[in-house]
Symmetry: C2
Subunit: 337 residues, 2 copies
């Protein structure tokens, strides 16, 4: 009973997998990183199992001290069943990820959305510690959102929630990847920024960006945008600032509904341009906030970087196991012990 307990967190990204062992205080004791390499399509779960096996061997700790595995996965999930409903990046449809990993490792497994995992990581040991209600917003290729309320990741009946990127802000706006028109993603995601930046580069208004990436939006990533701004492409700065302001306006809608006491901004764009995002989002939110909520929502930048998802996934399986244990304790009658 008094042996040390450990928890595995797994970040299943489209390009890389990161997995780590955390102790009871959620301190990282070991980690390994591998390319996801979805050369086989659909991507094989065996590669996840191999990666965890490899880590356990290299870590060298006692296998029996591992109490559970938490997975942060992309795409549409059913958080109740641990099934990956649809993850185009991995070529997965209706994959019973939790079940397969529980069979392989004989410990409890939870599968949660990677955005939820990242936000839960910040809540557990980062920029949102001790917050009662956290809104996590991660502008990237799309815009991920997550809500943690009194320690619980809010979820839908058979899906994740927090689709802040799909708030419709203009019914006549550009077509979104989801099929609707004028979603927040169409003006505030990294893709939307890249589209505008490529146009500016083509027009000759952004010489530094043009030299670095040409007009290829696949190459206009967060780092390239930040470097172009640093090199003096003022129009790129204005494009990113405008996107950050639109993001702030969308966040105001979420604050009016939920009054979170902590708002976490993360993801590639924010990591590369934290000061820009912090100031533009905070300022743009204010005019749209119900007055009572004006001092409630404190915007902060995510602190955990690449560790957020593994830490959050490990914290989640730990919380899950503790809740199961609590349930068993209260439902068991004294004579059964």
């Amino acid at each position: 009973m008094s042996t040390k307990q450990f928890w595995i967190g797994f970040d299943l990204g489209g390009t890389k997998m990161l997995t780590a062992v955390y102790d009871e205080a959620l301190k990282k004791t070991f980690q390994i990183k591998r390319k996801t390499k979805p050369d086989s399509h659909p991507f094989s779960i065996d590669r996840i199992i191999d990666t965890i096996e490899k880590m356990l061997v290299e870590w060298g700790g006692k296998r029996s001290s591992v109490q559970g595995i938490g997975i942060g996965a992309p795409g549409a999930l059913n958080p109740e069943t641990g099934e990956v409903v649809n993850a185009p990046n991995l070529g997965w449809k209706n994959v019973a990820l939790r079940k397969i990993l529980e069979d392989a490792f004989k410990v409890p497994v939870t599968v949660i959305n990677d955005v939820d995992a990242g936000t839960f990581g910040e809540y557990s040991a980062g920029a949102a510690m001790n917050a009662r209600c956290v809104l996590g917003v991660f502008p990237g290729t799309g815009i991920g959102g997550s809500i943690i309320y009194e320690g619980t990741i809010l979820r839908g009946t058979a899906s994740s929630i927090g689709e802040i990127g799909h708030l419709q802000i203009d019914e006549n706006g550009f077509r979104c990847g989801c099929g609707n028109r004028g979603c927040l993603e169409t003006v505030a995601s990294r893709l939307a920024i890249a589209g505008q930046a490529a146009i500016a580069a083509y027009r000759g208004q952004a010489p530094a960006l043009l030299a670095a990436t040409g007009c290829d939006i696949a190459k206009i990533r967060s780092g390239a945008l930040a470097e172009a701004i640093a090199a003096g492409d003022t129009i790129i700065e204005e494009i990113v600032r405008q996107a950050a302001r639109r993001l702030g306006q969308g966040i105001a809608a979420a604050v009016n509904l939920l009054a979170p006491d902590r708002i976490i901004l993360g993801g590639g764009l924010v990591e590369k341009m934290p000061d820009l995002y912090l100031s533009e989002v905070s300022a743009a939110m204010e005019p749209g906030l119900f007055p009572v909520y004006r001092s409630n929502g404190t915007v902060a930048i995510a602190q955990l970087g690449a560790d957020a998802v593994t830490l959050g996934a490990a914290a989640h399986i730990k919380q899950h196991a503790e809740q199961q244990h609590e349930k068993e304790k209260t439902s068991s009658n004294p004579s059964a012990s």
Copy 2:
């Protein structure tokens, strides 16, 4: 231990007070109604105490069988402390309503927002029974909103939440009562409708309404609007339908964030024109919903009418007392019994 237990629900409205006794199955066993009469300003809590006293006497049940009192109150509340922070209708600022009533009746008291109480009533015994996540939307003079998640009324740290009426849909829109511009309330509340209806009446486009109310927006209430539509004022119908569509668009934003499995529409406008609201809101939501959520949000009309707030407030104090009891059970050690 086996005596019957009862719970009091109290609906503190700006014009009337309604209070009722509910049994363990949340069946109403007695109720009385009185005018609020805020002739003394600020309104006196003694009138609430008198009203409950009067009901207890007329009811004739055993006083000791009353386990608690739930209050649904208007204005800005602190749900944790049970304090009414600001209720202009009653002339109240920072009134410790819970404390005063607990001292007067020696039973536990909870004070919740009246919109939360109404939604919790529908969740407990109305149109939202068994829903996992409920969004309650009540268009009236303003637009009230409430969220119930797995049986818990979501709240802010020192406020209620669910200010769906203050989603900013147009930063250049009309000035809202909250001070911001272009809130959903400025186009979809009863006041917004009345403003447009009065203009139509003044122009001679709404003869039935003009005959009934003149151009006085204080008189253009939900019943008058419904009657004008029935009498053939087609422009009034178009005005209300457009407001209902805007409401549906606002609700879509909330669904994208929370993916509720039940959406309850209530309040005066909806009670008088349920079919119009059900069809327009349902249709207007769809184009703005994230595709995965399209089948999740089922819109329904509130069923409990005038009983919703008293029932919800009674159900809330009952839930609160049961949770306290559960906590004491798990925290007490066996030797203390």
